[in-house]
């Protein structure tokens, strides 16, 4: 006689809905409760959360530290800007599709090269390739606008709602915020499915023990390439959603410090759990915004936080919260 494994009960999507539903309700009602600036700030956070979710498929689940994810974010953003400039596209849906197409192409090319390596060699290669894109955006100013960047006007959402006739701040804090929220929700659900699929299990196996993974028949490079591709596309989608919020794309988002910020967000939230990168991205966004307003030495402030984080909370905010929760439950059970 056989029995169903315990794993079945502990990983039920219903359990996740219990705590995810109140958060979803909060995110829906938030624009009515706070001022538009706060909502727009949250929209930035959700956009970055999509990027870091993608990034963490590589770091947290596959064990590959990319220092070049600014490239895929930038590809998504510039794909939108080029569509506006050269094709006069206004539809946000087409922007997202264009960004997906562009990031698939670039990620497949970069991934083909990078997944042949691991550890520091992988990290350096991703960094180097992202800087190639940065230099192209920087030097080919007649195409990319150089340091002036490319302006992206308020897009049409679903071909119906337009931001042209209304106040831009109101549009970003309401119509666009909800648009971002829907795509964020879809991305979270999709990534949750991927990391809990047999494919996701295979990635974790490769992360834990490459030799054993080979000897259960996994084609390591192929799995890493698919993970790289998915990761890059998520980050590309985030880039596409970010441009209308910012109104402008410049080479700064292709530059390596931006990749560093993505790594920071994952470490801040905790890259060894699913929700860590989401929480990390949102917190980082608030931290950075308030630090910039608080002091001109905001980079030093963020640096101190990163050092403290690595030394005191190596499992990140979410990892630490889980540890404290488990500790509290044990104390309560006594």
């Amino acid at each position: 006689m056989t029995t169903a494994p315990l794993a079945f009960e502990t990983r039920s999507p219903l359990r996740i809905l219990i705590w995810a539903a109140p958060i979803a309700v909060l995110l829906v009602v938030l624009p009515r409760a706070v001022d538009p600036y706060q909502t727009i700030l949250l929209a930035y956070g959700l956009v970055m959360a999509i990027a870091v979710l993608g990034f963490n498929l590589l770091l947290g689940y596959t064990g590959l530290l990319s220092f070049g994810h600014s490239a895929y974010f930038g590809v998504g953003a510039y794909a939108v800007a080029f569509m506006v400039k050269y094709l006069h596209v206004e539809s946000m849906e087409l922007f997202v599709l264009g960004a997906i197409g562009a990031s698939v192409l670039v990620t497949a090319l970069f991934g083909y090269v990078c997944v042949r390596y691991t550890k520091i060699f992988f990290s350096i290669l991703t960094l180097a390739l992202s800087q190639v894109l940065w230099s192209l955006a920087f030097k080919f100013f007649w195409v990319t606008g150089g340091t002036d960047g490319l302006r992206v006007p308020t897009p049409k959402l679903l071909g119906v709602v337009t931001g042209e006739s209304e106040d831009k701040i109101y549009f970003l804090a309401h119509g666009y915020y909800y648009y971002v929220l829907v795509i964020f929700t879809l991305c979270v659900a999709l990534m949750w499915l991927i990391v809990h699929s047999p494919f996701g299990k295979a990635l974790q196996a490769i992360r834990d023990n490459e030799t054993r993974a080979r000897f259960i028949g996994l084609r390591i490079r192929r799995y890493r390439l698919v993970a790289f591709l998915v990761s890059g596309v998520f980050t590309g989608i985030a880039g596409a959603l970010w441009v209308p919020l910012n109104g402008l794309t410049t080479p700064d988002i292709l530059y390596w410090p931006f990749s560093g910020e993505i790594v920071f967000m994952a470490v801040l939230g905790g890259f060894r759990n699913f929700t860590g990168p989401i929480v990390g991205a949102v917190i980082f966004n608030y931290l950075k915004s308030y630090a910039v307003g608080f002091t001109v030495y905001w980079q030093a402030f963020m640096g101190v936080i990163l050092v403290v984080l690595v030394m005191v909370l190596p499992t990140g905010v979410v990892g630490t919260a889980k540890l404290l929760g488990a500790y509290a439950r044990r104390r309560f059970a006594r």
């Binding site: 056989t2 029995t3 169903a4 494994p5 315990l6 794993a7 079945f8 502990t10 990983r11 039920s12 999507p13 499915l193 991927i194 809990h196 699929s197 047999p198 494919f199 996701g200 299990k201 295979a202 974790q204 196996a205 992360r207 834990d208 023990n209 030799t211 054993r212 993974a213 080979r214 000897f215 259960i216 028949g217 996994l218 084609r219 799995y223 698919v226 998915v230």
Partner: protein, 252 residues
């Protein structure tokens, strides 16, 4: 005699000046449980590494069911039916015991290519994984992390992960190394009963002669990269050349 499941023809691997495996002609018949013995550095693990695809051969051939698999990648050999466990346990330490075994099943069934289906909803896979853990006496530890169980249990799990691939030929590289003397026989009892009941052809590398003589049908002795002798446990026990080269003068 049973037909050859695997045959190597002048299989060779040199590491610099060291002739780890030197023009070895090795055969194993279908359904055999064969022990591969020899002193440290004799070339036993190198031979298994060559056949399983962990390291490439310098020259020679590996024929599995008459097909040349010498240049096949590891996944190709596994699809052909060759699996192995490791002398130094190789597990997914941050995953549960169930996950470790289930991953082999997912891979065997080609399901690891699925991105958009929940692994936990593949009931048949988890049932099979639970059954396998039960066969190996590890069912109660199914939810424990592989990195947190005893060395003896890790050894069993290592074999269970390979067994879940449903191999036709299973290499067991020192399945009782690093465990206490008391634990060795129970571990080998479990492995032996599963291998024999499922009619899996097995090659066991082992140093413990009591285990070798008790559990194997045939013994192949390696010495300095070549095969020194091959025969039944009784024949090997009485072979003077083997006594001198492997067991040492005290056994003479």
């Amino acid at each position: 005699m049973s037909p050859n499941l695997l045959e190597t023809v002048k299989l060779t691997k040199y590491f610099g000046d060291t002739h780890a495996v030197d023009k070895v002609d090795f055969t194993i018949g279908e359904g055999e449980v064969l022990a591969l013995i020899g002193s440290n550095g004799a070339g036993k693990t190198s031979l298994v590494n060559l056949i399983s695809g962990l390291i490439p051969a310098d020259s020679g051939q590996i024929l599995f069911r008459g097909q040349d698999v010498t240049r096949q990648p590891v996944h190709g050999r596994i699809e052909s039916g060759i699996a192995r466990s490791f002398q130094i346990v190789n597990l997914f330490d941050e995953l549960t015991l169930l996950d470790n075994v289930a991953l082999s099943i997912f891979s065997r069934e080609g399901m690891t290519r699925k991105l958009f289906s929940l692994a936990d909803h593949q009931t048949a896979v988890w049932k099979e994984a639970t059954d396998i853990l039960r066969q190996f006496g590890l069912e109660s530890k199914g939810q424990a992390l592989a990195g947190g169980i005893s060395q003896g249990e890790r050894k069993l799990l290592d074999v269970a992960v390979a067994y879940a691939l449903k191999p036709q030929l299973l290499f067991l590289d020192e399945p009782t190394s690093g465990v206490s003397t008391r634990e060795k026989a129970p571990i080998m009892d479990v492995i032996s009963s599963i291998v024999r009941s499922q009619k899996i052809t097995a090659v066991v590398i082992e140093h413990d002669m009591d285990i070798i003589f008790k559990y194997s049908d045939r013994i192949v002795v390696m010495h300095e990269g070549v095969i020194l002798a091959s025969g039944t446990p009784e024949e090997i026990r009485n072979n003077e050349t083997v006594k001198d080269a492997v067991f040492g003068p005290s056994h003479a």
